[in-house]
């Protein structure tokens, strides 16, 4: 019973990930796509966190922290490139 909730959460978060990828492919503006990429990575972090809780192994949280760090840097880089045409000026 206690694991069933976590399995349901994993399945539902995977469906959310599919929905977020569809939102990325929807032809909207370029900054909208950067926001969608940010959201996709955060949903991946959520998947890792639920999995860490499911298996009681704490090294999945290390992977979640690293992915959150990379998401931050990548979003900043994409936004800077989208705004000014190049990264370092």
């Amino acid at each position: 019973m206690h694991d069933a909730i976590l399995y349901a959460a994993i399945v539902w978060t995977t469906l959310l990930l599919g929905a977020a990828v569809l939102l990325l492919l929807r032809p909207r503006s370029q900054p909208g796509r950067i926001a969608a990429l940010d959201m996709i990575t955060l949903i991946l972090v959520a998947l890792l966190v639920i999995f860490a809780k499911l298996t009681d192994e704490s090294y999945y949280l290390d992977a979640a922290l690293a992915l959150a760090l990379l998401n931050f840097i990548a979003t900043l880089a994409f936004a800077r490139f989208s705004g000014r045409g190049r990264l370092f000026s």
Binding site: H2, I5, L6, A9, W12, T13, L16, A19, A20, L23, R28, S29, Q30, P31, G32, I34, A35, A36, D38, M39, L42, I43, V45, A46, V49, I50, A52, K53, D56, E57, S58, L61, D62, A64, L65, A68, L69, N71, F72, T75, L76, F78, A79, R80, F81, S82, G83, R84
Partner: protein, 123 residues
């Protein structure tokens, strides 16, 4: 008391996943980038922080420290990411839902006329 803690953690997992669902739904329904950033930058991150608190409650101490660290990092850096994306959108002249482009025009044009009118009213 560990049964209460287990049920509290499950409730927090359900709440976190529900808030993230609302974030994705909000992103899908918003018409322009500046509104989508509210959903993607705030709502999804807060759902994720709730999931991290749920994990920190029910895992051993070193894992809980890592979960709290990840939550603190997300709380600090998510507004910075959203601001960077919004600034990139303003610099790329991305229009809002009403059609107008935020940010002021580059040097010349209406800003000079406005200062000339203000000086005329002052005299």
């Amino acid at each position: 008391m560990s049964a209460v803690l287990t049920w509290a953690a499950d409730l927090l997992v359900i709440a976190g996943v529900a808030v993230m669902t609302l974030g994705v739904l909000g992103f899908a329904r918003m018409p322009d980038v500046y509104n989508q950033l509210h959903a993607a930058g705030k709502t999804v991150v807060l759902g994720l922080v709730t999931l991290l608190i749920a994990t920190a409650v029910s895992i051993d101490l070193s894992g809980a420290a890592r979960a709290v660290l990840t939550a603190a990092f997300l709380v600090v850096t998510a507004p910075v990411s959203a601001h960077a994306v919004a600034r990139g959108a303003v610099l790329a002249r991305e229009p809002m839902e009403s059609g107008e482009v935020p940010g002021r025009d580059p040097a010349g044009g209406s800003s000079e006329e406005e200062t000339a009118d203000a000086n005329a009213d002052g005299r």
